[in-house]
């Protein structure tokens, strides 16, 4: 992958709250994987989980 392409693309992690369905997008950090426990939901306080990891442009 060229350096320029790497700059334009970023890997994001989507966390979802299993209770209220709220989704949160954050930057990928090493060790993240789909299904792992995430942060705490700001709305209901439940434990979120990583639903998706993908690359997006911009």
């Amino acid at each position: 992958m060229s350096e320029r392409k790497l700059e334009l693309e970023r890997i994001v992690v989507v966390e979802e709250c299993p209770k209220c369905g709220v989704m949160l997008k954050r930057k990928f950090s090493e060790g993240d994987y789909v299904g792992m426990p995430g942060g705490t939901c700001r709305f209901c306080g439940s434990r979120m989980y990583v639903k998706m990891i993908y690359k997006e442009h911009g």
Partner: protein, 369 residues
């Protein structure tokens, strides 16, 4: 005779421009046309070969960097580099009876040998590190072989001045470069432990498995039970989040033995799209959607045929490049469509209280369960 001279000069010029030069031009092209074509094509192919070498060298640099950070012993480092030339000979197929079991045996021995050798070199059995190293070695070996093969054909072409050989290479060279770049991207994904496009099957099934009790049903393969629309679903996928493909055929056979009557087998996999199709589009069909050399597909088909179990497939379309590089947004979001299709299959094709096997096919890198 100034006027006569003028007429005579213009006549010669006319002859030169409209008769002699075109004849010379045609004669030149007739004799040297193929030579000129050969030179131009060879120049382009040589440039592409250099690009392929650059891609190969980049993968070797990445492998060397990975070795430097994970292996301390110089002897073991050399052993790991020696695995680039590791190969498997396909079984004799003159008598095709029993070829599938022979193929399965060779593939299993090859995979086990690679994994145990790498674990031995690393001095650790951590599946994530072993999977990452295996990914590095496999990608570098594939690019190394690709470069050597193309270089071999270019050398033959030069030696025998074969335009026919060169034309074939010229036609496929852009595709080979594209494939080489895709393999480089696969190394990036393996390094970071991020899901790749091929992981859409395990992603769909892995999310359904979340929070459910799981068992290891076959080597590197996990299973869980859930209930959807009143049907009992046995979910199967390779064990993640390490880079793994699992033994899906063994898992399906064992599930059949453990759960008795199975009403349907649904496979979810990525499918190579045509240029006119869009990435992330989903399609529904019949049969077993498992790629590769066909061993797993054959064994699942065999089980289903013996028992009369209907086979359904859900596929997500993507290009070869997308399948082996970091998963794109459109592909990841296709999970919603996959679930809608699964609901439709369950409602239309199975009765309530039925047992259905759902298999997530593909590399489960970066996808847990």
């Amino acid at each position: 005779m100034p006027l006569g001279l003028a007429i005579s000069t213009s006549t010669y010029a006319y002859l030169a421009y409209y008769l002699i030069l075109p004849i010379a031009y045609i004669a030149l092209l007739t004799v040297y046309g193929t030579k000129i074509q050969f030179w131009f094509m060879m120049s382009d192919v040589s440039k592409a070969l250099l690009e392929l070498r650059r891609i190969r060298d980049k993968s070797l640099d990445k492998l060397n960097h990975h070795i430097e950070t994970t292996v301390n012993d110089p002897v073991n480092r050399a052993r790991l580099l020696g695995m680039l030339e590791y190969f498997a000979v396909s079984p004799v197929d003159l008598d095709p009876v029993g070829i599938i079991s022979k193929l399965k045996h060779i593939v299993e021995v090859h995979d086990n040998r690679m994994k145990t050798e790498i674990a031995d070199i690393l001095g650790r059995k951590d599946p994530i590190l072993v999977g990452r190293t295996l990914g590095h070695v496999s990608a570098a070996a594939a690019l190394n072989y690709l470069y050597k093969l193309v270089n071999h054909i270019v050398s033959l072409t030069k030696r025998y001045s074969s335009l026919a050989l060169l034309q074939q290479l010229y036609a496929i060279m852009p595709l080979l470069i594209k494939q080489g770049k895709a393999v480089l991207e696969f190394i990036d994904a393996v390094d970071k432990g991020v899901p790749i496009g091929d992981g859409i099957g395990p992603l769909s099934v892995g999310l359904l498995m979340r929070g459910k009790p799981k068992i290891m049903i076959a080597e590197d393969t996990m299973a869980a039970i859930t209930t959807i629309d009143g049907r009992r679903l046995v979910l199967i996928k390779a064990e993640g989040p390490a880079s793994n493909l699992g033994k899906l055929d063994d898992a399906v056979r064992k599930t059949r033995l453990l759960f008795g009557k199975v009403s349907a087998i649904v496979t979810i996999d990525a499918m190579l799209r045509l240029e006119s199709e869009k990435s992330g589009e989903t399609a529904r069909g019949l049969g077993v959607a498992i790629g590769g050399i066909g061993v797993e597909r054959f064994r699942v088909e065999e089980t289903a045929t013996k028992e009369g179990i209907p086979l359904y497939a859900i596929t997500v379309k993507e290009s070869y490049m997308e399948a082996i590089s970091i998963m794109g947004r459109k592909i990841a979001e296709a999970v919603v469509d996959v679930y809608n299709m699964l609901h439709r299959i369950l409602e239309e094709k199975t009765e309530e209280d039925a047992t259905v096997i759902v298999v997530g096919v593909g590399n489960t890198l970066g996808i847990g369960q």
